[in-house]
């Protein structure tokens, strides 16, 4: 029994790690979504965190906790001068500006010889273990959960529902939005630092536009209305390829395209039919059942 569990653990260790890392990344997009802002700079923040942590442990010999702290603080510090101008932009303009930021970070690393440019850094010591990753997820969830029902939480909700009205009520909207962007940057940075020391390597092309799209998809599929939705989405979509790998030979489609196809269709179905994500599925089913009962 224990042996089998240990086998299972060994087989799925990396999948579990990815679930945790992807959860942190999904939460980093969620922080700004929770006040109605679509900011897509998280891949850039994660890249900064990953490189900061890897350089500190490998080239400066810093202890891992210190490197992780830097991986949180450095992107957070970058988020302040980034956020002040771009948070004035609304809707898709903010999304585009932050996509531009992410690409500038990625291309800056590609052109930076000290960190091996596009090849990235390899043979990073494996210092991140599963418990650290899940401790980080738990801390993030605890902090975000505490926001609910607090003065802060209500302010964020007010900004999400109607920003001009929130401002009129005396809520310092820019400060709140900036704080959430900074928090998201720190989360993404920690995720990047953990990932670098979990997979032993970082490369700039792992932090492109596609990566931030993945994070957004995790958050939206899980549900961006409640703080634990993004974690559910990240877990679901990280496990999905494992399941699809088994299924692919049965339907006669290559695993790669099948994974993309299912990801796309799941996202489309969620946006069209479950706008609050899969965490709202039980409630939605209850509503449908009640409607049917009322009709009968």
């Amino acid at each position: 029994m224990w042996e089998q569990l240990a086998d299972l653990y060994a087989t799925y260790q990396s999948t579990l790690g990815y679930i945790g890392i992807n959860s942190l990344l999904a939460l980093s997009v969620y922080t700004t979504l929770s006040c109605g802002q679509l900011a897509l700079g998280s891949a850039g923040f994660a890249a900064i965190g990953a490189y900061a942590a890897a350089l500190l442990t490998m080239r400066a010999g810093a202890p891992f906790p210190l490197a992780l702290l830097a991986a949180a603080l450095l992107p957070a510090a970058v988020a302040v001068p980034l956020g002040l101008p771009v948070l004035r932009l609304r809707g898709v303009f903010l999304a585009i500006a932050t996509i531009g930021f992410g690409e500038v970070v990625r291309l800056g690393i590609v052109n930076w010889d000290y960190v091996n440019g596009a090849q990235g850094i390899v043979a990073i010591p494996q210092k991140a273990s599963l418990w650290m990753i899940f401790l980080a997820v738990a801390v993030a969830l605890f902090a975000l959960g505490r926001l609910r029902g607090s003065k802060w939480g209500f302010a964020l909700e007010a900004i999400r529902e109607d920003e001009p009205a929130a401002r009129t009520m005396g809520i310092a909207t820019t400060s709140y939005k900036l704080a959430m962007l900074v928090a998201g940057a720190a989360l993404a940075g920690v995720a990047g630092g953990l990932e670098a020391h979990f997979t032993f390597m970082v490369a700039p092309n792992g932090f492109g536009f596609g990566r931030v799209v993945d994070m957004l998809v995790f958050a939206m599929v899980g549900g961006a209305q409640v703080f634990w939705g993004p974690v559910v989405g990240a877990a679901f979509l990280t496990l999905l390829p494992e399941i699809l790998r088994e299924v692919a030979p049965l339907v006669g489609i290559e695993p790669g395209p099948l994974r993309l196809m299912v990801n796309g269709l799941v996202l489309l179905a969620v946006i069209l039919f479950l706008p609050n994500g899969i965490v709202s599925l039980p409630q939605r089913l209850r509503e449908l059942r009640q409607a049917r009962r009322a009709a009968a």
Binding site: L38, P85, V86, L89, R90, G91, V92, F93, A95, I96, A97, I99, G100, F101, E103, V104, L107, G108, V110, N111, G117, D162, E163, P164, F209, G210, V213, L216, V217, M220, I253, E254, G256, P257, L258, R259, L260, M261, N263, G264, L265, L267, L268, I271, L272, P275
Partner: protein
């Protein structure tokens, strides 16, 4: 120098064509259609498949463009129409178009595989001649010409026809347009058809020009297209064309003077600066809308 200007104009005309369709949909619906680049890619593959069946490129190009247009109409039906009227429709529309882009990419990956496909040798004439001290191929000139003709045709369509007036009315206010008897759904379908047809044309020309077609070929053009429409002013068609040419020329000069690896960084840094300093772009007139 002359050579670089020619190369820049040629690259710019593809960016301009791509961005025209992108910005048209944004102007009408206020929605960023992130599946535009996937339509660009699929049209290129369709042209390749047609050429592979022995159809000459002069016929394959319009057929692929027609396919792209119809794909755009389907895209609107599936991913945008159901979301219309939702409070957060510009963010949810962006995400549903991403979903469609993923599905399109999966289809291309399954049919054509992840590797680069190429047009067979001799699909287009390889004639070259010299102009302003540089070498230019017939294909490059044809691409610039196609882009200019399509831009003029689109301008005429939007400015002078009944359909164009309806599309502009919907862009101004869908409600008012409906009250005045405009068939809003039809006008939006038409803009998606035109937008995707232009994106498809850009895709086929891009595939011919660089002779390299792959399921992820739309990625970099997608982000550069964003830079172009932001620089030109979201929703402004002359702005998109000017910015497209400006980006093409800038990239060519950056490659020549700073090295190829800086090419993309310059366009994104430019995008970022424009958004921070002058968010409405070169020719954009509308102020940023408050929700």
């Amino acid at each position: 120098m002359g050579q670089q200007i020619i190369n820049g104009l040629f690259l710019g005309s593809i960016y301009a064509l791509f961005a025209l369709g992108y910005t048209l949909v944004f102007g009408v619906l206020d929605i960023l259609n992130l599946a535009h680049a996937a339509v660009f890619m699929l049209a290129s593959f369709v042209a390749l498949a047609l050429v592979g069946h022995g159809i000459p490129i002069l016929l394959a190009l319009p057929l692929a463009v027609l396919f792209a247009g119809l794909l755009g109409v389907a895209l609107e039906r599936i991913a945008f129409r159901p979301l219309r009227g939702r409070a957060d429709s510009n963010i949810s529309g962006l995400i549903s178009s991403l979903a469609m882009a993923t599905v399109f990419e999966a289809v291309a990956l399954e049919i054509w595989g992840p590797n680069i496909s190429r047009f067979p040798f001799g699909t287009v004439p390889e004639t070259q001649f010299s102009l302003f001290g540089g070498v230019v191929s017939k294909l490059q000139l044809a691409i610039i010409a196609v882009a200019v003709v399509l831009f003029l045709a689109l301008t005429w369509l939007v400015k002078a026809t009944r359909l164009g007036r309806e599309v502009r009315a919907v862009a101004e206010s869908p409600r008012a347009a409906r009250i005045l008897g405009v068939d809003v759904d039809r006008a939006i379908s038409a803009s998606f058809f035109i937008s995707s047809a232009l994106g498809g044309a850009a895709g086929v020309l891009f595939g011919l020009a660089f002779n390299s077609i792959s399921p992820d070929m739309g990625r970099s053009v997608e982000l550069k297209g964003l830079a172009v429409i932001i620089l030109g002013g979201m929703g402004s068609m002359p702005g998109a064309v000017m910015a497209g040419f400006a980006l093409g020329l800038t990239e060519v000069f950056v490659v020549a003077n700073l090295g190829a690896s800086w090419r993309d960084a310059v366009s994104f840094a430019g995008l970022f600066l424009v958004l921070v300093l002058r968010p409405r772009g070169l020719l954009g007139t509308a102020a940023l809308r408050e929700a």
